[in-house]
Every structure is written in C-alpha cells, then in structure tokens.
C-alpha cells in the first residue's frame, strides 16, 4: 500500500468524522464533488449532512465556523486555495483568534489552507500564508512536511481547543508518498530532526524540508554532514530543538518558501541570534523567495522560490565562512 500526502489529509478527515460527532467540514465544492483537490473525496457520501458545500463567501465561512465552535462543534473549513483566505482574514484574526482570550470560551476550528507554489499556478494560487497568521495571537499554525505529519497533525488540529491554521502544501499533495499511516506522532509544537548532521543546521518547514534534504544528500557527497530541522508548526515554533541543533552544528541556514521580509526565517534567525548567539560559529543566514508576486511561468517560478540548487549554493557559502 502507498498513500500520498493528499490521501493522508483525506484519511485524517475521515477518521475525525468517524471518531467525533462534533466534527463537520465546510468548504466550496467539498461535498459530492469531493473538493477541488479531492481532499474530501467520498466523505459527503460516508457522512451525510456533515460535509457541506459553502457559497463563495470566505468571510461568512469562517464566521459560521466560529459560531458553530461556540456551540461545541469542531468544524474543519477548507479554503479552496490558501490565497483566498485573504477575504476571510478578518474573521480568522479578529473573530476566531480573539474569542478565547476575550471570553474564556474556546474556538476549536481548523482552517485548511492548500498552500504554496506549484508550476504554472501564478500569483493568486501559490501563496504561503503561515507567517501572516503566526503574527496574530490566538492561533496555532501548522505546516506539515510529511505524509505522516499531514495525517497526525490534522487529527491533532481537530483535537486542539484553539483555531488552527493548517497549511498543507499543494506541491506535496501528489509528490509525497508513504507506506502507511502513522500510529504515533510528535506532539504539536515539537520540531523534528529530519536528518542529523554536524556541520550546518538547515531549518525549514513544509515543502522546503524536502529541498533541504536533497541538499543534505548532495552535500554529503562533498563530505558535509547537514542537519535538517523540520519545524512542523511555525507557531508555536520549537526554539529549543532549533537551538539544540545549532549548538551541535554552529551554523544556521533558515529556509522559507515565502517572501523575504519578515516571515518564518526572520523569526528563526532572530531567536537564534538573541538566545543562542554564542552557539553560532558564523553569521546565521536566510533564504527566501524573491520579493515579487509569485510568477506564473515555470522558468520564473523555479528561480523565484528557493530550490535545492539555490539552497545548496547558500549552504556551501555558509559552510566555507
């Protein structure tokens, strides 16, 4: 048997629906059609009345989820693409994220964001929005990089009593396969060491973990041992694991698929610089996408975002410094 990242997301939702009557799914085309990416395939059939087609109303979709959560439900909202969450932004950051702090009533909703770039998708179907949501208090932001995490973290997301922004990467949907679904997982908030090494820590998340792993493999041929840290969730961000890795390697390269101003790489580098300054043998470095909208043409796109090639170049430079 082999299961893709996308199938894992479907399976996690099937299991959540099966295990907990409070769970329901709401999103455009998620019902009979099974979702734009088929992440809810057959679920409307298997769980009648609990997988509901939404109108093209992202603001009201999130607002609805918050109201249902107040009444004890645990809704999963599918955004058709992460990019469209900008029109539901207010309800996420001001309604969902503040509810518990203001009222002590928890707001257990999951917002699934099909995220990140794929070839030919262009400026409005490729965005990575984890850092926008991570800035706001009151949200948990997950960025699974593996089939196993896609499954177990989505189940975790449903179980958590807070709004969870679940950034699933569209590039990994079909590209990534595993033999079976996991039976156990790291707790939320814990980063994973995706590969151990002693010369350099590459801290990444989501699709960039795989680019980083490819670099580690490539550079192992040149005698370098590169450690790859998979953040798993960017909020909370597991500073301890990052710091422990940098303590071992003395060198840090933070890699993110999103834009260069702010974002996860800034937060990672800033934390390590503040709290682990003396662990560093060389200036910590960052690699991000370019500071323009995400281009449509594959020629441009592959240069716009970090790839194994550009990460390897950055890593070599840093290893030599």
């Amino acid at each position: 048997m082999s299961i893709t990242y996308l199938e894992a997301i479907r399976e996690a939702q099937a299991r959540a629906l099966a295990d907990d009557p409070r769970v329901f799914i709401y999103g455009q085309d998620v019902g009979a059609f099974g979702g734009a990416f088929k992440a809810t395939k057959n679920l409307a059939n298997e769980y009648p009345g609990r997988v509901i087609d939404a109108p093209i109303s992202e603001d009201a979709m999130i607002g609805m989820a918050v109201g249902a959560a107040v009444e004890g439900m645990r809704p999963i909202i599918e955004m058709q693409f992460a990019d469209f969450s900008t029109v539901g932004f207010n309800q996420i950051v001001n309604q969902a994220a503040t509810l518990h702090w203001r009222t002590r009533v928890s707001c257990p909703i999951v917002v699934r964001l099909p995220s990140g770039g794929t070839s030919g998708s262009g400026p409005f179907h490729s965005q990575s929005m984890e850092a926008l949501y991570a800035q706001y208090p009151g949200l948990v932001v997950m960025t699974p990089a593996t089939v196993e995490d896609a499954y177990s973290m989505l189940l975790e997301a449903v179980a958590i009593d807070d709004p969870v922004i679940f950034c699933e990467h569209k590039y990994l949907y079909y590209h990534l396969k595993a033999d079976r679904l996991p039976t156990e997982a790291l707790p939320t908030g814990k980063a994973a060491i995706a590969r151990t090494g002693r010369d350099l820590s590459i801290v990444a998340y989501s699709a960039m973990v795989h680019e980083a792993l490819a670099v580690a493999e490539e550079l192992s041929g040149e005698g370098w041992e590169i450690e790859v840290v998979d953040l798993r969730s960017v909020k909370p961000l597991d500073t301890d694991t990052v710091m422990a890795s940098v303590a071992r390697t003395g060198r840090l390269l933070a890699v993110g698929e999103s834009w260069p101003w702010g974002g996860v790489t800034a937060e990672v580098v800033a934390r390590v610089a503040s709290e682990g300054f003396n662990l560093l043998d060389a200036p910590p470095q960052r690699l991000n996408a370019k500071d323009t909208p995400i281009p449509y043409h594959p020629n441009l796109w592959t240069v716009h975002r970090p790839t194994a090639r550009s990460i390897a170049a950055a890593a070599r430079q840093l290893l030599r410094s």
Partner: protein, 319 residues
C-alpha cells in the same frame, strides 16, 4: 427599556466625569426596537446585539452588573478588563460578544444556529442586530446569503437610524428602502417604525415566530433616529433640525409611555415609580462596581490560547 435608558445615561454621566476609559455608545431613541428583540427571545436562542442595544441586552437577560463591570473595567466582569464597553457577551448563554468589524457577527449567529440544528435543537432562533451602515459591508451580504441558503432561523434586525457616524443613509445605499433587499436574498422582509414600541413588539414577534417555525431568515428594517451622538464624544451636529422635528425624532420612551397610559396598563405614577426603581438599581450597581478591583497586569496570564501548553513563552525580551 427604561432601565436601558437609565443605565445608558449613567454611563454618559460617568464618561463626562472621566470615569470611563474609552468610548461610550448609547441607544437613545432605539430602546423600543432593541427591547422588542431582546425580550422576545427565549433561553436557547442566540442574540448578537450591537452598540445601541443596552435595552435589548438587559431584556435578553444581561445583568446590570455585567454591563457596569465591562464599562468600568472591573476585573470581575465577563470580559475581565480585557475588552470594554459594548464588547461583551456570554457566548455559552447564546449571547454573542461583538467584535468591532461591522457585519462580522451575523455569520457567527448562523454558525450557532447551524450547530443547534445539527445537534437536533429545533425551535430556536438567532437575532443579529446591525445599523444601516453595516448593510454596506461584505460580511452582511455573505452572511445573510449564507443564512438564506441554509434556511436558518436568523432574524436580522437593521436599525436604520439614518446615520452611520456622520454619514447619511443617502451615502450608504441607493435603494428606496433597505427592506427591498429581502427578495434579492430570498428571505422575508418586514418594515417597522422603530420608535413605536407597540409596533416593534408586534413586528418582531411576527418575525421571530416565523423564523422559529421554519420560515427561514427574516429581515427587519426599523426606521428611526439616533437621539445622541455616534459616541458620547460626538455632538452629532450633522443631524439636521428637520430630522429631529420629524416623527422619527420623537423619543420612543415618550411614545411608549403614552401607549401604556392609553392602554391603561400603567398610569404616570407607576411609570415614574419604575424609573425611580431602576435609577436606584443602577446607582447601587455602579457604586458596587466602583469598589471592585481593576485588573492586575501581574496576575494576568497573558495567554491567548485555550491550550496553555501551546502558548509561546518568549524568552527573548518582552514587556
């Protein structure tokens, strides 16, 4: 209704005395409408009032203490000083605390109603209150449409008080009456003169009953005039004398009193006595709350998450 007015007036007095942090927003002139909504809801119903709904909140079951504590920033209030003035509620009691972004609370009511239906709780309604200005928001549109698609028992009450802050209705919409929007959503529309208590009670009763009995969303436009500034910082100089002299400018409290007298439900002594009673009640509550502790920042846990273990602790410096 009288209690709402008296409590509002008290907040205004406290505001002028500099005893309230932030703004004070009154429902003056809108109490008849507000109370007609609040008092006709039942336990198990959902209520999302807005800034001018002191009367309705009390009628729905909010205590004077909850209101006073929130306005005065008492640590013992439902918002514990974290949020203030009109931003209060008790979600588990169906009383939705507004966020400021206009129109945003309607979909929350929809969600609560959908959940109740999923849980098999029928015969409930949800009332969401907004001003005519909020009908210009995308949130209003998306959520009313959503309620219509799901055939939810939503009663959407629009207090068309002619102004959104300083902006006259003519700069807010171009339809003849807001109730003309109802057919475009496939929902039932109702119009009511908003400063007439008897009318408000009747029309809201009709709308609430219709929603409760499966008639789907009900859209109510109440026409009235705000008899105060947008907030107590605002003298509302932009409201013309003509407006004030029109029938809409009549105080709903006066109209209600006349109606009571005429119907023989009460005489003017009784009405005066009611007022005296609520003045005492309000004074007592305020006096009590003024002695209560303000929130202590060093007792505050500064945790935005229900899952405390997931809250980040910033060992990098933080105030």
């Amino acid at each position: 209704m009288v209690l709402g007015r008296v409590l509002d007036e008290k907040f205004a007095t406290l505001y002028r005395a500099g005893k309230i942090h932030g703004g004070v927003f009154l429902g003056r002139g809108q109490e008849a409408l507000s109370v007609a909504v609040g008092m006709q809801l039942q336990p198990g119903d959902v209520y999302a009032p807005l800034i001018r709904d002191q009367a309705g909140r009390l009628a729905f079951g909010e205590t004077v203490l909850d209101a006073a504590r929130t306005y005065m920033g008492s640590a013992l209030g439902p918002m514990r000083g974290r949020d203030g003035n009109v931003h209060r509620g008790r979600p588990k009691a169906g009383y939705i605390p507004m966020i400021s972004h206009l129109g945003s609370n309607i979909a929350v009511v929809n969600g609560a109603l959908l959940a109740k239906r999923m849980k098999g709780q029928n015969g409930v309604v949800g009332a969401a209150c907004i001003g005519e200005g909020a009908t210009s928001t995308g949130a209003f549109h998306e959520s009313l449409n959503q309620a219509a698609i799901e055939c939810l028992p939503l009663v959407l009450v629009v207090a068309n008080n002619q102004f959104a802050y300083s902006t006259p209705a003519s700069r807010q919409f171009a339809c003849e009456a807001l109730v003309d929007k109802a057919p475009g959503y496939g929902v039932t529309g109702h119009s009511v003169v908003g400063n007439d208590l008897v009318q408000c009670l009747a029309v809201l009763r009709g709308a609430i009953d219709a929603a409760r009995n499966g008639g789907g969303p009900q859209f109510v436009e109440a026409t009235l005039l705000r008899l105060c500034g947008h907030g107590e910082h605002d003298d509302a100089g932009y409201i013309s004398q003509e407006h004030k002299d029109s029938p809409l400018g009549r105080d709903c409290l006066k109209i209600a009193e006349e109606q009571l007298l005429k119907a023989g439900v009460a005489d003017s002594d009784t009405v005066r006595q009611w007022r005296n009673e609520v003045v005492l009640e309000v004074d007592d509550a305020i006096a009590k709350v003024q002695r209560e502790p303000a929130p202590d920042p060093y007792q505050e846990d500064w945790c935005a998450l229900a899952s405390r273990h997931l809250q980040e602790t910033h060992s990098h410096l933080e105030d």
